[in-house]
């Protein structure tokens, strides 16, 4: 019984960590630490690297829909951007064999920036007008890039502590 609970906890840990980031962003957003809607991509990126089989596409879709419901975005828009980024990640994945953290960080910067612009483009398309890009937009990108190493460190720590790399 206990081993079953442990097993389910382990396989759902990537999803739970992404959900945690979504809620964290929602309840921090009243302060200056507003990471924007793509904050959860930090965890998605990490789990795509370490445990992609516990992050099936339907989970990405569901998490994206939850985000859209919270932020009143058109349902499916966040999921579409996440899928685009996963596609780009896969393409990038074929080119690099053993990336160091620095290389991962650079690829995260590129992917996240593409994601932010793609999200802006999608919203402009939905609203049928070019939405403004202001300093806040760049601030959100910078904030996410600054926090990525911290998130990466904690997720890696949990990944090791919970022995998620061992075959389940």
């Amino acid at each position: 019984m206990l081993s079953d609970i442990k097993y389910f906890f382990k396989i759902s840990f990537p999803t739970l960590s992404i959900l945690f980031l979504i809620f964290l962003n929602l309840f921090l957003s009243n302060s200056f630490l507003d990471f924007g809607q793509l904050f959860a991509f930090q965890a998605i990126f990490f789990w795509l690297l370490y445990l992609p089989k516990f992050l099936p596409l339907y989970i990405i879709l569901i998490l994206g829909i939850i985000q859209d419901i919270i932020y009143l975005s058109p349902i499916g828009s966040t999921a579409l951007i996440f899928l685009l980024l996963i596609f780009l990640f896969e393409t990038y994945n074929k080119f690099f064999l053993e990336p160091s953290f620095f290389e991962l960080f650079i690829s995260f910067i590129v992917l996240f920036t593409i994601g932010m612009f793609a999200f802006w483009g999608l919203n402009s398309l939905i609203n049928l007008k070019f939405l403004l890009i202001n300093i806040n937009f760049l601030y959100k990108i910078l904030l996410n890039l600054l926090f990525f190493p911290i998130n990466y460190f904690f997720l890696h720590l949990l990944f090791k502590k919970l022995n998620l790399n061992k075959k389940l």
Partner: protein
């Protein structure tokens, strides 16, 4: 990248590489997302039941944790020094005195207003009823400007009710759940409110554009405005009571826009104006 590869914090070594997701499932989910966006944008399916349930569960979870975790604020309060308490007491007494003065002034204005109303033979609006609510989640993004408040159907809040602070209008209730509601701020791109501007009572519609500046639409040509002219709701359409201040006119390079009276990113407590002037 594949699981089972040896990994340290700074390097990730992979044993083998294969595609993470099959092309078919990827294409399926992309098409599904695009279909959902189309359905939502075109309002083909009303997702309000799903939204209500998800929002209720999210905030139920949040409330559950916030009530059960140790309250740091309460803990901090117990360490407040005597000196701070005396200062706070003094400040509170001054505030009470000031509020009493404001109360007297507003009473006087109310009497004066009623007399003038009678003179003008205007019908008084329905009973004014405010509910003070707290903003529990700021869900403003670059593309949507909404906030979630801690009152819903349980406090008789309905879609379209005006949300305001003592300074002026901040938006209107857009979605109502059981214990929560979502307020669409005046800065949102979908917000359109009929207003009147300045002493000349010029009619216009204000429209948000997801920035802190609000656009003024449908104006007659050759109209001029002064800086700091007050903009207030006209009551046209029956959604808002007339006369609620919204913002002030600002001019910048021959462009006229409105500066809201409230800082919409910092709103904490708001009044919801229920049972308002809805006579249509």
């Amino acid at each position: 990248m594949q699981i089972g590869g040896t990994s340290s914090l700074l390097t990730l070594k992979t044993k083998n590489k294969k595609t993470l997701y099959s092309n078919y499932s990827f294409v399926f989910f992309v098409i599904l997302s695009i279909t959902l966006i189309t359905f939502d944008v075109k309002n083909i399916v009303n997702p309000s039941i799903v939204r209500t349930n998800i929002i209720n569960s999210i905030f139920f979870t949040k409330d559950f944790f916030s009530f059960n975790l140790p309250n740091l604020d309460k803990l901090k309060l117990s360490f407040i020094s005597k000196e701070e308490l005396i200062l706070e007491n003094k400040y509170l007494k001054e505030t009470i005195n000031q509020n009493n003065l404001f109360k007297l002034k507003s009473k006087k204005l109310e009497i004066e207003n009623n007399i003038l109303r009678k003179e003008l033979s205007l019908m008084p609006p329905q009973l004014e009823n405010y509910v003070l609510v707290k903003v529990i989640a700021d869900t403003q993004t670059r593309y949507n400007k909404t906030i979630i408040i801690n009152a819903g159907r349980n406090l008789d809040i309905r879609k379209g009710d005006a949300a305001l602070t003592s300074k002026g209008l901040i938006g209107s209730v857009f979605e109502v759940y059981e214990k929560y509601s979502r307020v669409l701020l005046i800065s949102d791109i979908n917000s359109k409110i009929p207003v009147r501007v300045g002493e000349n009572n010029i009619k216009a519609i204000i429209s948000g554009n997801n920035t802190t500046k609000i656009d003024l639409l449908y104006l007659k040509e050759n109209l001029s405005f002064n800086d700091n002219d007050l903009v207030y709701t006209s009551g046209d359409g029956g959604y808002f009571n007339p006369g609620i201040p919204v913002g002030v006119i600002k001019k910048e390079n021959n462009n006229v826009y409105i500066n809201p009276l409230n800082d919409l990113s910092q709103v904490q407590y708001i009044n919801i104006f229920i049972n308002q002037f809805k006579n249509f």
